[in-house]
Structures are given as structure tokens and as C-alpha cells.
């Protein structure tokens, strides 16, 4: 964990940056962001980041790869998504299955 001052810096930058892009969309003339390439790239970047974060937070432990109960939890979330379960149920499935696997496997 980083120091508390560093954490506040990170919070400040993230809050300012995330608010700025939200306001940007509402405030700029439509034409500026309407170029097809820009829009396609803007749609693809979150996909790449979300996919990477899913993988890293499922299989990453510090700077090592690990295959543990979280993988079972994520699989449960994927099944819930395929069944078109609501958001909260998807998250709950992942949490419960991960906890259950840990309880059974003892770690």
C-alpha cells in the first residue's frame, strides 16, 4: 500500500480527471468527438482496460500469476451473465462462489 499522501494525490487526480471527461461530453460541440475513428477507439479502450482488469484481478497476486478460488468466482459471474442475471446477482455469484471454494479448499 502506498502512503496516505500518495493516496490522496491519486484520489485528487482521478476525481478531477473523471469529472472533467464527464463534463466534456456534455459541454463540447458535438462535432469535435464525432469522428468515426475517435468514437471507435473510445469504445475499444474501455473494452481493453476492462478485459485486462478482469484478468489481472482474477489471476494476479502482487506481481505473480495465481490460479485460485477467484477463478471459480469469475466463472460463476460469467454463467450469471449468460443467464442475463441482474448486475447485483452477477457480483453476488462471484463473491459467494469464491468464498465457498475457499471454505471447502481451506485457503
Amino acid at each position: 500500500m502506498t502512503g496516505t499522501a500518495d493516496t490522496w494525490i491519486a484520489i485528487g487526480i482521478t476525481a478531477a480527471g473523471c469529472y472533467a471527461v464527464k463534463l466534456l461530453g456534455l459541454a463540447v460541440p458535438a462535432g469535435l468527438l464525432e469522428r468515426p475513428v475517435v468514437k471507435r477507439l473510445a469504445a475499444l479502450v474501455p473494452i481493453a482496460l476492462l478485459a485486462a482488469l478482469t484478468a489481472l484481478q482474477t489471476f494476479g497476486t502482487g506481481r505473480h500469476l495465481a490460479f485460485d478460488a477467484r477463478a471459480a468466482g469469475l466463472a460463476a459471474a460469467a454463467v450469471a451473465l449468460l443467464l442475463r442475471a441482474p448486475f447485483l446477482l452477477v457480483v453476488a455469484a462471484a463473491v459467494l462462489v469464491t468464498a465457498a471454494v475457499r471454505a471447502v479448499a481451506g485457503g
Binding site: A15, A42, A52, Q57, V90
Partner: protein, 274 residues
């Protein structure tokens, strides 16, 4: 014709009461369901080492779930403040494109925009863009935004306070909440070949760089998958065949998020293919 200064629920004669009730019901359904998952964020953030005040500040000020989970994940893994913030920021950039579509739809007065901006996120955009007509869209946006903001912050607080009582979040499986949130946001976005390529390549890059680069940086590197996937998509697939032009490309399952719709309507011109 002038727009009312605020999206007032009681002044919309062109929307019948029954459909107004339906809009409110849908908006509250999303607002409550997603708002409750702030609990998972509160616990995750506390588990990553952030204080109660820091955790609540994130939900109040950042208020875009994926960025918040990404930030505390990166900080908890020992990432520097700037790399951690950069990952969270890039995740938040999609909200600019939601805002762009919402500004045309909601036509908010200039003074309301800075306030409404904080609520421009996946869920409010999905509800607002699904409505027919400005009044219904304003109603959906306002009800989703208000219920989600209130609940998300309340449950963040409860989660962060309760985290110490829970002990180790991992014992409760709460470390799986973050990736599940990411997957749930990701699933409706991945519907075409280019999207699948970007997602798959990003996973490979992230896992490849995890042991090699400092915490937080592998996520940023994975963003390179986006331009690479786009470059592949824009190339003609076979020598005799040009990339198919707009409107001939099947788009997969029905669009479920505003991002989908935006891509379908405006991104198909020169880079989509079946």
C-alpha cells in the same frame, strides 16, 4: 420552444402517467441494484488499505465504479499514485462519449450541466438513451442518477465501516467483486470481432506484463490492444475484397448499452466488418 430549467418530473404533459411510472420503475431497478454494490467497493477499498474518508471521497467525487475499483486495486497492489490514477482516468473517458449523446438527448440548460455531469455514467446513460422523448429521458436520467448516487455512497460507507468487522475480505470472497464488476460491464460491450480481438489481446498483454512491470502499468499497456485491434479491423481481409462499407455489416446481438448504440450508429462507417 424553451426547455424547463430542470428535468421536473411533474411537468411533462406529453408523457402518460403509466409510462412515467414504467420509466421510474426501470430507473429505480438499475439504481438500487447497482447502488447496493457500493458495499463491495467499500469493503474492497478498505481492504486495499484506504481510510474511511478516502473511500467515501472516492465514491462522492469520482462516482464511476470501474475507475474506483481500478484505482483501489492498483493502489492496494503497490502502484504509484500517477499510474493508478492514469488507469482509472482512461477507464472514465468513456463517460465523455455518453455525455455527448446525452447532451443532444437531454438538452440540459447550461447551469444544470456541471451538476448533471457527475451522474453521467454507464447506468444513467443506458436508462436515458433507452427512453422515447426528452421528458422520459430526463426523468430516467434523474431518477437513476439520484437513486444510484445516494445508494452507492451510502453502501460505500457501510462497506468501508463493516470491512474491519468482516476481517479478511478474501475469506468472504469479496476480492472477487472487483473482477465480477469489470466482467459485468465488459460483457455487453464485446459483441463484434474487433471488440473480441481488443479484449483478448488486452488480457494477453496484461498477464504478460504483470510479472515484468510495476503495479498499475500492465493495465495501461493493455490499452494498446485498442488501436491494434482497430488497425486490424480497418485492413481488408482478403486481397480481392475491400473492407465492406457501412450498413452491410451485421452487428451481432442487439445493442444493450449506449456504447453499443453509439458504435452502431456512428462507428460503422469504415471500420466494421462482419
Amino acid at each position: 420552444m424553451t426547455a424547463p430549467p430542470v428535468p421536473a418530473p411533474s411537468s411533462a404533459p406529453d408523457v402518460p402517467d403509466t409510462s412515467r411510472a414504467a420509466v421510474v420503475r426501470d430507473a429505480l431497478g438499475v439504481g438500487v441494484a447497482v447502488g447496493l454494490s457500493g458495499f463491495a467497493f467499500g469493503v474492497t477499498s478498505a481492504g486495499a488499505g484506504l481510510s474511511l474518508v478516502q473511500t467515501c471521497a472516492l465514491s462522492l467525487l469520482v462516482f464511476t465504479g470501474a475507475s474506483q475499483f481500478a484505482l483501489v486495486g492498483a493502489l492496494g497492489a503497490g502502484g504509484g499514485p500517477f499510474t493508478a490514477a492514469a488507469g482509472a482516468f482512461f477507464l472514465g473517458t468513456r463517460n465523455a462519449f455518453y455525455g455527448l449523446r446525452l447532451s443532444q438527448l437531454l438538452k440540459l440548460p447550461r447551469l444544470v450541466r456541471p451538476l448533471a455531469a457527475q451522474w453521467v455514467i454507464d447506468e444513467t446513460s443506458a436508462i436515458a438513451l433507452a427512453q422515447r422523448g426528452r421528458d422520459a429521458a430526463r426523468l430516467g436520467f434523474t431518477v437513476t442518477g439520484a437513486s444510484l448516487y445516494a445508494l452507492w455512497n451510502l453502501t460505500t460507507f457501510v462497506g468501508a465501516v463493516g470491512a474491519s468487522a468482516l476481517g479478511d475480505p478474501a475469506a468472504w470472497g469479496l476480492d472477487a467483486a472487483g473482477p465480477a464488476v469489470f466482467l459485468a460491464l465488459l460483457a455487453p460491450m464485446v459483441k463484434g470481432r474487433t471488440e473480441r480481438t481488443a479484449a483478448g489481446l488486452a488480457v494477453v498483454l496484461a498477464l504478460l506484463f504483470l510479472p515484468l512491470l510495476p503495479a498499475g502499468v500492465p493495465v495501461l499497456m493493455s490499452a494498446l490492444a485498442a488501436p491494434v485491434a482497430l488497425a486490424f479491423a480497418r485492413r481488408p481481409r482478403t486481397s480481392g475484397q475491400q473492407a465492406p462499407d457501412a450498413h452491410t455489416a451485421p452487428d451481432g446481438p442487439a445493442a444493450r448499452t449506449p456504447a453499443d448504440r453509439a458504435a452502431r450508429e456512428e462507428g460503422t462507417a469504415d471500420d466494421r466488418h462482419g
